[in-house]
Symmetry: C2
Subunit: 422 residues, 2 copies
């Protein structure tokens, strides 16, 4: 489906019916796998740069905004740059990640982007503006405004997610994929029936949004067992400091070191209801018995031996949270009669076990009827949505970032429907 | 509904159509709130005796079996005794609880029951038998057999749960109730449409069973985030040793000490989608930011101050697990078109916060359309079911436990349908 491109007539029609829509020319957009720092004007240490920019080879208009999606734990930044070291027209979307508690660092980068913008265009009535979404757009509104002294435009989080996902699904080739152990990244085929779908966005918490059409969506549910739960519990149990450290531990762990399996209860399969002995019966359920056994041993003067490996606990919790989200997503998709389920959000991080568990859960519960879809820019759906929901202020009449004159774009992405009431 | 009694004709009809059914006379059964140790012939220290026996005032037949439901963490025992210190006919069901890792203690009690039985009846061809269910019926089969030298009859766990729940719902007054903060135990009214219902059994793990009729059931799902998860994670995080200690901590905790609330992300309500600032966004989601802030403070030479209270963590996890089960139960009830949801299993333990959270989740997700039901003997549903599924071997022709002659019972509980293929 990621290879499904809008035909020119359809886009033209959109541009006509939505004259105020965002005019980011996404024709021929594709993912560039190289070090983005070689292209970016921003050079700040301690910041995570994504390695997969999106090239927009035909966008020539001035882009006078950057977008930031400030979540509970992470802030995601998207900005547009011209190709610096080449004579190529067009430009690219750059992606950066910050921890929300270091919002000062994010603001620092925004300041640099503003300075770069002023360097190219001078102080003008068309100042750079920041499109902000996520809860932090509200919580840090004053802070952003005071520090940057630019216009801060707030966009609704759910609307941005939908705009962003629609863009990724319909415009970017090799963006959406399915996961299986034998084929970890099988790019999804184009399909005509985009809607309805369910978007499951896994950040600190989890939101599930049913999307029935380009402008129709509803948050149908979610769960507060999400990425924040994984990080929080594991950091307390294992002392690990980063998400990547936790995922690496999970990779080498064995959840049966802490999980109670069906076989631990039955001593065999519970075949009457189709539960294999290796199925998880209770996450962390082995701790009770092992601790009690150790206490008994200690009271008998024996050396108590009860240790739980950090690796095993990490794997257990990764399974538990992914599985749980998978089950709830499936049940919501049934309730709301949706076949296709997209998983996004920074929790996934392209991690194989996570995607494997989510995929397995959807296949298992749906008896193979439904499938989990993932995105290479899974963490930036909301930020890209926020970016696309703004029309460059002076689109079609002023010079672009690198000073060239920008003609009106003919093919644009309809990211900012005026008729949707938030 | 707990006050809905079978009419004599209906029970007679049952006894006729199911001549091999269990002949435990449940007519006029009721709950006795007194210390069961004053009545029980068993006196073993270190064992949990329930305080609410069930009197069966009209059961006079010999009962030659006891029942045990051995789960992943807990073993539940049910046995019948005559009234020892009175001239009353009938008898009572007694309830006892063991930790499964101390199965030796459970076996010790079973030995005492066998000795008591032999004392009353002498060694006879009608030996006491043990009806066992739960995974431990399989895992500990040889151990039970070797230690007790009695017949061990295994019954399917799901079937026992259904038999037990049907018994509690239809025969025992003041057993089933709904919970609300203003009325913590409102006994459920009789209702004619018993079926279909969903039974959510919360032990170490969670099973959800759709019951469409007295002999029709299907395990539709479950979750491995259950009582074992609560105990396991909290024992590792807080050092607490017993479930009751953990529940007591939860009572005095404030989950917002560790949970990320909507207000922590937004600084306000997220009113567009109806999420209040006090809603939980991410369980344990505050840990990430607080730990990182503390590290930063430490790197600046300040005193890092990051402690998470055991009470807050306990409350957070109790909320999370109860809420999650509530949501999945609701979604399963929707998928399977079931209105009434019963929550059983030893996790609940009559604990107010747990029942409040489960009740709230069902009301919230169903927009008030559905309700959560609880049982006073919530932990013993499977054990009682196992007990009722056996017909006393010599029913109607031999002497009873206390030596009196037992006439055939006229009104019996149809607990052992022969026509159900497991």
């Amino acid at each position: 489906m990621s290879s499904q491109h809008h035909s020119a007539p359809r886009l033209l029609e959109k541009a006509i019916t939505n004259p105020g829509a965002v005019k980011i020319n996404v024709e021929g957009a594709f993912i560039v796998d190289e070090d983005p720092r070689s292209k970016s004007p921003v050079r700040t240490e301690g910041v995570h740069y994504e390695g997969s920019d999106i090239r927009l080879p035909h966008h020539t208009g001035l882009v006078s905004h950057v977008a930031v999606d400030i979540g509970g734990s992470l802030a995601k930044l998207v900005y547009f740059t011209r190709e610096i070291d080449s004579s190529d027209v067009g430009g690219r979307l750059n992606f950066m990640l910050f921890e929300t508690h270091r919002i000062d660092l994010c603001i620092e980068v925004l300041k640099q982007l503003k300075e770069e913008y002023v360097r190219l265009h001078g102080p003008s009535p068309t100042e750079l503006c920041v499109v902000a979404t996520g809860g932090g757009a509200f919580k840090y509104y004053d802070k952003l405004k005071d520090a940057l002294k630019v216009n801060i435009i707030r966009e609704d989080e759910m609307q941005c997610l939908i705009t962003g996902l629609d863009f990724f699904v319909t415009e970017i080739p090799n963006e959406v994929f399915t996961y299986s152990e034998t084929e970890p990244m099988q790019f999804a085929e184009a399909r005509p029936d985009v809607y309805p779908y369910l978007l499951v966005n896994i950040g600190s918490g989890v939101s599930m949004i049913k999307v029935s059409g380009p402008r129709q969506f509803e948050r149908v549910g979610g769960t507060h067992l999400g990425g924040g739960t994984f990080w929080g519990i594991l950091s307390l149990l294992t002392g690990a400091r980063t998400f990547d450290e936790m995922l690496a531990m999970a990779d080498s762990g064995d959840n049966s070191g802490v999980d109670m399996l069906v076989g631990d209860i039955y001593g065999m399969d519970y075949s009457k209801i189709g539960l294999k002995s290796t199925a998880i019966a209770s996450t962390f359920g082995k701790v009770f018995r092992m601790k009690n056994d150790a206490e008994e041993a200690a009271s008998n003067g024996e050396e108590p031996d009860v240790t739980f490996k950090n690796e095993d606990m990490s794997r257990s919790l990764l399974y538990a949270i992914s599985n749980n989200i998978g089950q709830i997503a499936y049940l919501q998709s049934e309730k709301h009669q949706v076949k296709h389920i997209y998983f996004g959000g920074s929790f996934i991080r392209g991690h194989r076990q996570t995607m494997n568990t989510l995929s397995y859960a959807i296949r298992f519960w749906s008896k193979g009827e439904k499938q989990a879809y993932f995105l290479r820019h899974e963490g930036y759906i909301g930020a890209v949505g926020a970016f696309l929901r703004r029309q460059p202020v002076n689109w079609g009449r002023r010079t672009s970032l690198d000073g060239t004159t920008a003609p009106p774009d003919k093919e644009t992405f309809d990211g900012h429907p005026k008729d949707h009431a938030l």
